[in-house]
Amino acid sequence: MRKTRTLLAALAVGLLTSTAALAGDVRIMWYSDGVEGEVLKDLLDRFMKENPGINVVLDNVSYTVVREQLPVQLEAGDGPDIARVTNLKAMSQHWLDLRPLVADAAYWDTNFGAQADWMRPDGSNQISGFMTQITLAGGFANKTLFDQAGIAMPGKDATWDDWARASKQVAESQQVPFAMALDRSGHRLSGPILAYGSNYIGADGKPAPLDDGAKAFIEKFVGWVGDGTMSKDVWVSAAGSTYRAGADDFINGQLAYYYSGSWQVPNFSTKIGSNFDWVATGSPCGPANCTGMTGGAGLVAVKYTKNPTEVAKVMDYLAREDIVKEFSERTLFLPAHKGVVEKGLDFKTDDAQAKAALNIFVGATGSLSDIARKLPGWFWSDTYYAALVTRVSQAAAGEMPLAEAYTRIDADIAAKIKDSGR
């Protein structure tokens, strides 16, 4: 009997010990565009030295996993403790309210308040997390190709037509397969669409039908894909709302002009190096304005975590002013922290092209339209983007006429609104 009791006691102690070990675990689902995964790992190693009771596990996954698999895990009441996400508003019901858990909620409100609404349920004052970086969609030109072709790069207020014309001349002169590329993404396509005067948000706050501004740019864009100005590899190469980037073609010197965003700067700085000269151009202008699209990735706490206190400690650490400053300077990301922005940054790079590009993007924030600022915090933005990508790429592939694509975009969005029951 005594033996049995001893055995049971040992088993209980063993179980308790193992549970205690698990209690300190904080799992972060993270994706990287550039070197930010390595920088974060370094920062977390320092956190764990300062907090030996908390074990932070960094799961580096692809962006597609975050986009497609994380929502399913969250719906099932599961998932990581913290995640790096771009679809912040539509999944806000899954984020943990850190307000009662963080050391100083006022610090969070002051420094991250401007984007806090992007990641919390409508009408709440929840602190869900913070933006790891603010991004801005914009263009990049291969300066070396332009110089070799002897064609002047369009200036500051150049239009989409100006860039298309010049890039096409460069591509023909330099035997480049495509003049331009624009990521296969509804977010990216929306920059020029807004520059053409479109307004996605209806009077009732729900998606408005596709308007003339949107149709004007989509028609132009599909024409460019058709005549080979715009890369077919990016926009015709997949079905549905699958994401495709044209970054590799730009890095390999196969594009005169590439429309993506500020998050590519560290990627280009690392991978292009001194192979050729490149510059950021901001967003080309449309008839309405010269806006790009703002956005970014947020680091959010997941409400299904078993260790909310530890999660809050990790979030407090990563949101600290000195840590945000270091993270931004080493990753070459534009920070969302008010204090860091006000005090200025010293980006850790010797690459003058990267520094100049970052300054261009910072400057381009001044030309953002009101609607571009609203979309990251709008529940329906990803629904709108998904419908745009699916149908515009079908039209670009020659599967359906543009008029049919426009009707389908409106129908797809209407069906999603009906499905959601909102």
Binding site: P71, V236, S237, A238, R244, D382, A386, S393, D419, G421
Partner: protein, 342 residues
């Protein structure tokens, strides 16, 4: 148990290893014989099947019924109790067409595009796969130099993960891929194979055949090797031509293996997804969008997801598969009966 089987007794290492197994089986044997006497053979079969049925029930039948339940619900929530009951609305939505031969006339046009693409894929791929596997098996059944090596070569792609298969062929076929590098070397202009609707569709068929034919070749090869050689010798002595020997000896005796291969190829073809998803992503446009990718995207990838619609589409796909399998089984039975009458 095996003691009275000639050649199975002895005192070698094998016997030493097998002895504990035999002893254990002997212990189980007696009560089982008793149980069999009491319950009868059918009862015993159920007893032995029970563990398997439990696993099958939990991991196959239960998900099937849960999936069916999903297909009767609406909304974007994933957790079944959070979803609203909509009856057959999801099925009605899938069948909401003015002309079933024109996908564009349907509310869910991409579903019907995927159905059409899958149909063509199945017809072409299954035919080619069986033909290619059969020819390969016939060649590998001959007295070739380094026959084992060639068998391994054809079987090797089966060992690769579908994602790896997709990536390998993407590196070969993409605009800056190996194929164009080779063409460029011979003075031809590079061509974007995967941006061309017809070439992309052909690529999905070719790649799936390349990836899986080794498995079916192996099944057919096993069938060919089971055919007694003396039948061919007798036919040869009678002056039978090789074509006639193939049609009158090989094909009838290979029929059971061939039937298994047809069923497996057919089911696999309807379910095609992973290598195509990596290779073409369903593009260009929707020209290689197959049914499984439609289900995946509707249920998991698009914003906002519709698990109910995806479940309804997967139930319809399941029905098609069951019908195809039953047809194959019917054909199999009728051919067996014909064989028995002969």
């Amino acid at each position: 148990m095996n003691a009275d089987v000639p050649g199975k007794t002895g005192s070698g290492i094998g016997e030493v290893v097998l002895a504990p197994v035999r002893f254990t089986m002997g212990l189980i044997d007696a009560p089982l014989r008793w149980l069999q006497r009491v319950t009868g053979i059918s009862g015993m079969a159920a007893f032995f099947l029970l563990p398997n049925m439990l696993i099958f029930g939990i991991f196959v039948l239960l998900p099937f019924f849960i999936n069916f339940a999903y297909s009767m619900t609406g909304g974007t929530a994933l957790f079944l109790p959070d979803r609203s009951f909509v009856g057959g609305d999801q099925y009605a939505r899938l069948f909401d067409c003015t002309n079933y031969l024109n996908a564009n006339s349907c509310a869910e046009d991409t579903f019907w595009t995927a159905v059409g693409n899958t149909g063509w894929f199945v017809i072409i791929q299954v035919t080619l796969m069986i033909a290619v596997s059969l020819v390969t098996a016939l060649i590998l059944n001959r007295e070739l130099a380094a026959r084992s090596f060639w068998r391994a070569v054809f079987f090797f792609p089966v060992l690769l993960s579908p994602v790896v298969v997709g990536l390998i062929w993407k590196w070969i076929l993409q605009r800056q891929g190996l194929m164009n590098f080779g063409l460029y070397g011979f003075g031809f202009d590079p061509y974007a194979w995967l941006n061309d609707r017809n070439w992309a569709f052909a690529a999905t068929i070719g790649v799936s055949i390349w990836a899986h034919m080794g498995f079916y070749t192996l099944i057919l090869l096993a069938g060919l090797q089971a055919i007694p050689k003396d039948l061919y010798e007798a036919a040869e002595m009678d002056g039978t031509r090789p074509t006639r020997a193939f049609l009158r000896i090989t094909m009838p005796l290979l029929a059971p293996n061939l039937l298994v291969v047809v069923v497996l190829v057919l089911i696999k073809a309807v379910q095609i997804f992973d290598e195509v998803y990596v290779l073409t992503g369903g593009g260009p446009g929707t020209s290689t969008l197959y049914l499984t990718q439609y289900i995946y995207e509707t249920g998991f990838a698009t914003q906002l997801r519709n698990p109910g619609l995806a479940a309804a589409a997967s139930i319809l796909m399941g029905v098609v598969l069951v019908v195809l399998t039953l047809m194959q089984l019917g054909l199999s039975r009728s051919s067996e009966k014909k064989g028995a009458r002969k």
